[in-house]
């Protein structure tokens, strides 16, 4: 073995000599693009948090939905909840990610970004996408798939801008002056390739018009693809880029190298390889095949290892520097961020255990979980890098470390005040939903009893959000004052030797630098690693199409029901109402027969939802009268005292968009719904006929409403929900 190691050392010496012998080149780092992304992140962060706070308040003061005002329909909970999630994920965290990547990548590769033009196309392209989201989501233009709500033209724009980012990144890697790619760069590469794959696969949709499309997939398949996407969006948009950022900025801030570089290699490969398999844990007890659910659980548990390896690597980097953590706000933010990463990545796998999931799913527990990750990990790491980079880029010192410390404590208290009430609320919900009395009846039969019970906890949660937002405002002030006190270094001068063209790895050393200096091979291998899990998980489920037990009585939606369903999607009803009855006695008692895969075969997109702020609606059809629905949508509180559901007065004034019916029928036929040829021509006549039946039944109760009103379509859809199986039972009984 000795000659082998001697050769390794020899080749290392050659490497060093090689570098020293080269002529030094002068160049500069582009700080301007970093500054732009940072400003965008801070501004959109404040907006996104404010929208989140508003949505939180709406949940205990429904009056803040402003339902009766002219702007009511644009700011009701169902519309602004996706606005909040999109603003936080793609605008606040996304822009911060790009800022962190552009800052660290240039320095780690000792090269300016490939092209300033591409950098700015990336920046403005991304901001235009955010602007488009900010306009379309309140207008109700949405696909309803969580974190993928934006409609198809914006999806295409996202893909294009993402490619620009990728070209700029890979191009910079190719023209680098540092031969070896530090682990942060690996995380950035994995982020780029995986997000591209996820976004493209999940965005297959059939356009109806410029602002409307139907998911290419239906029911169970749509759910699997969506949560494969949703889960990995958390992994590869909110986690991997920030791990790269952690591996760069933490050693910088702590002024010592990362604890174990070997561990970081394992962290990277194990994380990207395992993460991609875990998506189905979002669909436990759903109608997804058991094997896929189990696969999701097993891989989720395995994820603890690389995640905690990463967390420990981060925290151990601070060994010997903990005294500085007491004084340095940057390190404080980082310690809480990394701890939150550890907590969220332990909690996530535990939530994927089926017995825990049975309790936690659809409750506020999940909201607490994601906010530990969002507020703690992403938010605090972003604050840390802002406090660290702004003084450097403006060549000054931070305006006030006292304000930074105040921000730290407000933020930390904010997270606690947010998470704890949501945990209590989640457990309360679950216990109340599942409690039976000795006679075997549900104790809290009325869903509303649970809703009312947790209102004070929602109040506390909003207080937590307010504290967190206040901290972020203080930070903004502090950073602006810092910037004014300094002078911005738009182009930071740097120098390094270019890569030697005749670089040859000496015998014996090939394996240990197999990847670090071959970006293209590396990118391909990262892609393969993430594709393996995706393929093994998705392929059998795609073959399922012919295997979903078909239920003869399940028929496509009528044109009126279809229009109603699209209004349901537009209003974001799926934010609060699930359409998936799990096979538990507590659920079948409350809602009716548990959901079957075969019932969703015409659901483009699926509308299972992920949260029960209100009751499940899968079997709501036929449960109440048309009149009940009419009155309930007009004034929920008058029908169900204490209800926190917003009113929907505009549904009574606006007319069904009949011009779109034919296009919708044709588009759905293209994706596999068996509407007969030529049906689109007669669809509106059928729609009107069904609407007349509903208005006639309302008239009997003294309600006069136009059969064109949107509420009629919504009633038709709600009355249809889950009745296909009931119809079958009736048929069998007869």
């Amino acid at each position: 073995m000795q000659p082998f190691f001697a050769l390794l050392l020899l080749s290392q010496n050659n490497l060093n000599r090689c570098t020293h012998a080269m002529e030094i080149e002068k160049f500069s780092y582009d700080n301007k693009i970093v500054k732009a992304f940072m400003i965008a992140s801070v501004i959109f962060g404040l907006v996104g948090m404010l929208v989140g706070l508003t949505a939180a308040i709406q949940l205990f003061y429904p009056i803040f939905n402003f339902s009766d005002s002219p702007v009511g329909q644009f700011v009701s909970f169902g519309r602004i909840r996706p606005l909040h999630t999109n603003a936080i994920i793609f605008a606040f965290v996304g822009n911060a990610m790009f800022a962190g990547v552009y800052y660290s990548m240039q320095r780690l590769l000792k090269a300016r970004m490939l092209s300033d033009t591409l950098s700015w196309i990336h920046f403005w392209g991304w901001q235009l996408i955010i602007l488009a989201a900010a306009i379309t989501l309140p207008l109700g233009i949405t696909t309803s798939k969580e974190y993928a709500e934006l409609e198809w033209p914006i999806d295409i724009a996202i893909a294009l801008v993402w490619v620009v980012f990728g070209i700029n990144m890979i191009g910079t890697i190719i023209k680098r002056r540092e031969r070896h790619m530090y682990v942060a760069i690996w995380f950035y590469i994995a982020t780029f390739v995986t997000v591209a794959v996820l976004h493209i696969v999940n965005s297959f949709e059939m356009p109806v018009s410029f602002f409307k499309s139907y998911s290419w997939y239906a029911g169970v398949q749509d759910a699997l693809v969506q949560w494969w996407y949703g889960h990995n969006a958390v992994a590869f948009f909110l986690t991997t880029p920030f791990l790269g950022i952690m591996y760069y900025f933490l050693p910088k801030a702590a002024n010592r190298p990362v604890y174990s570089y070997r561990l970081s290699i394992i962290h990277f490969w194990a994380l990207i390889f395992i993460y991609i398999w875990a998506g189905p844990h979002h669909l436990l007890y759903s109608t997804l095949p058991d094997w896929a659910q189990s696969l999701g659980v097993v891989f989720s548990i395995m994820l603890i290892a690389p995640s905690w390896g990463g967390m420990l690597n981060g925290l151990m980097t601070l060994r010997g520097a903990w005294d500085r953590v007491r004084e340095d706000a940057v390190l404080k933010f980082m310690v809480v961020a990394i701890t939150a990463y550890g907590m969220a990545t332990l909690e996530g796998p535990l939530l994927s255990l089926k017995n825990v999931n049975a309790i936690a799913h659809f409750t506020d527990w999940i909201v607490a979980h994601v906010h530990v990750g969002g507020l703690g990990w992403n938010g605090f790491l972003i604050f840390a890098i802002l406090y660290w980079t702004v003084p450097r880029m403006w060549n000054t010192k931070l305006y006030s470390s006292k304000l930074a410390n105040i921000h730290f404590w407000l933020g930390t208290l904010g997270i606690i005040f947010y998470a704890l009430p949501m945990y209590v609320s989640g457990v309360t919900q679950s216990l109340m939903w599942k409690e039976f009395n000795p006679e075997g009846f549900l104790v809290y039969k009325n869903f509303l009893e649970t809703t009312v019970q947790i209102l004070p906890l929602h109040g506390l949660r909003a207080t937590g959000g307010l504290l967190y937002l206040t901290g972020a405002i203080i930070m903004t002030y502090n950073l602006v004052k810092t910037a004014y006190a300094g002078s911005f270094i738009a182009n930071e001068p740097a120098e390094a030797a270019p890569l030697a063209k005749n670089y040859v790895i000496k015998t014996g050393g090939w394996h240990y630098r197999l990847l670090e200096h071959k970006p293209m091979l590396f990118t391909v291998l990262a892609l393969v690693a993430i594709l393996i899990g995706g393929v093994i998980e998705l392929v059998p489920t795609f073959l399922i199409k012919s295997n979903v037990p078909t239920i003869a009585s399940v028929k496509p939606y009528t044109p009126l029901e279809l229009q109603g369903r699209d209004i349901y999607i537009r209003e974001g009803c799926v934010s609060c109402h699930s359409q998936l009855i799990r096979p538990f006695r507590s659920e079948t008692e409350r809602y009716g027969e548990y959901s079957k895969s075969g019932e969703f075969v015409y659901d483009h997109p699926f509308l299972w939802g992920s949260k029960r702020t209100g009751p499940d609606l899968h079997r709501v059809g036929g449960k109440y009268s048309n009149t009940w629905h009419y009155n309930h949508m007009l004034a929920p509180d008058a029908v169900s005292t204490g209800s926190i559901m917003p009113a929907y007065p505009w549904l009574f004034e606006q007319s069904i968009d009949k011009a779109s019916t034919a296009g919708k029928i044709s588009a759905l036929r293209t994706v596999g719904v068996p509407y007969p040829e030529g049906y689109e021509e007669t669809a509106n006549a059928e729609l009107e006929q069904q609407a007349e039946t509903i208005t006639a039944s309302l008239k009997k109760d003294g309600i006069e409403v136009s059969s064109d009103a949107e509420i009629v379509a919504v009633i038709a859809y709600l009355q249809r929900l889950g009745t296909d199986i009931k119809a079958e039972k009736v048929a069998v009984n007869q």
Partner: protein
């Protein structure tokens, strides 16, 4: 139901075996790679973020306004 799904796939029995082999091979290779990496090289990689400038403590302030 999963039986229906799996039975309809040709040679489905090989599916979990392939998964396991890929998984096992992946991690064995990874561990072998990590333990064989030269220590000097690791030190070099580790130091990459530290090279680009002299770190300063970020929250020292010039003047305390607050």
């Amino acid at each position: 139901m999963y039986k229906n799904v799996l039975q309809s796939m040709t040679d489905v029995a090989v599916w979990p075996i392939i998964s396991f082999v890929i998984f096992f091979a992946f991690f064995i290779t990874l561990l072998a790679y990590v333990f064989l990496v030269d220590k000097k090289f690791i030190q070099y990689m580790k130091s990459l973020p530290m090279d680009d400038e002299t770190p300063k403590s970020s929250t020292e302030t010039v003047n305390r306004h607050v």
